[in-house]
């Protein structure tokens, strides 16, 4: 056992103060990052999926006619022709 230092209470007091200040700063940083970045990012995702229309997006992709999706009407017509199946007019 080591005898308690004469300045023990003072050191503990300063230590508690440092821990308190660090804790407040860390909680503030966490809250700032969470409410400033994490939640807005998630809300953007929510709005995007709520407003997303696959039919509109499909029309945009197929209108480009770049062969990006193999299930566009143009690509399906080619597939049917390769298989020798009848294809209606697009």
């Amino acid at each position: 056992m080591v005898a308690a230092s004469a300045t023990r209470n003072m050191l503990h007091q300063y230590g508690r103060r440092a821990i308190g200040i660090s804790l407040i700063a860390s909680v503030g940083a966490t809250a700032a990052f969470f409410f400033g970045y994490v939640q807005p990012r998630h809300e953007k995702y929510e709005r995007f999926f709520a407003n997303y229309d696959p039919y509109t997006r499909m029309k945009e992709i197929c209108a480009a006619n770049k062969g990006y999706m193999h299930t566009c009407p143009q690509e399906l017509a080619k597939l049917y022709e390769e298989k020798g199946k009848t294809v209606a007019d697009l």
């Binding site: 050191l11 860390s26 994490v38 995702y45 997303y52 299930t71």
Partner: protein, 231 residues
């Protein structure tokens, strides 16, 4: 210039479940930032403070108690969204309208639509000389797995030889394909498009050359594709 979804975090997630995983990742990053600030400030206090602690054995049981309390609080904060995500993932597996069996081989994938007789094919990576302009290298395949959007798809993943992993990064999907074991999960894809993945379990020399290409399309287009693909 990066937009809101690029550069500093995970790439854009293409399903609602994956966006929740993105939120959980960012939430953990915020906690990590808090711990970083806390530790940095305490280190700064110990380094730049006017008191020299090393020469004295100062007992501070309260500080040691805090070293147990703070991590416990952080883990409890992480527990709630983590279990919520697991529960949500469990709810996703309750229903399925279409079953796709995925079989891993050395070194390609086989897809079999159990509900559609005769619809099964192999999926090999396109070599460099087969690629068209704009097709990604080492990711494009000769036969894509096509599924309808907004439909619960059940994937049964297995392997014919060694262990593979069927993984789609932007959809938070990664399941091991093991021989003799049928791993199943159900998923609903809200976005149309082409999503790429790769085998994520070391499976031999050509482990890097067995990509996954998943094309999500409308239901009517999917039906037409089925009729066109079958003999």
């Amino acid at each position: 210039m990066n937009n809101f979804f690029q550069g500093y975090n995970l790439l854009f997630q293409h399903s609602l479940f994956a966006s929740y995983m993105d939120w959980f990742h960012s939430f953990n990053c915020s906690l990590l930032l808090g711990v970083l600030v806390f530790v940095t400030l305490l280190f700064g206090y110990l380094i730049f403070g006017t008191f020299y602690f090393k020469s004295k054995k100062i007992e501070y049981q309260f500080g040691e108690l805090l070293c147990s309390i703070f991590p416990t609080i952080i883990l409890l904060m992480q527990m709630v969204p983590s279990l919520s995500l697991l529960y949500y993932y469990g709810l996703m597996n309750l229903d399925s309208n279409l079953t796709v069996k995925v079989t891993g081989h050395q070194w390609y994938w086989s897809y079999e639509y159990s509900d559609i007789p005769g619809l099964e094919f192999d999926s090999y990576m396109k070599s460099l000389d087969q690629l068209s302009l704009g097709e990604p290298r080492l990711l494009e395949v000769d036969n894509r797995c096509v599924i309808p959007c907004d439909t619960n798809i059940r994937f049964c993943i297995t392997s014919a030889d060694v262990i593979h992993a069927w993984a789609l990064n932007s959809l938070s999907v990664k399941l091991d394909a093991m021989s003799g074991i049928l791993s199943t999960f159900s998923y609903s894809f809200p976005m149309v498009g082409v999503f790429y993945g790769q085998c994520s379990e070391i499976c031999g020399a050509n482990h890097s050359f067995m990509p996954i290409a998943l094309e999500v399309t409308l239901l009517d287009n999917f039906k037409s594709w089925c009729f066109g693909t079958m003999e």
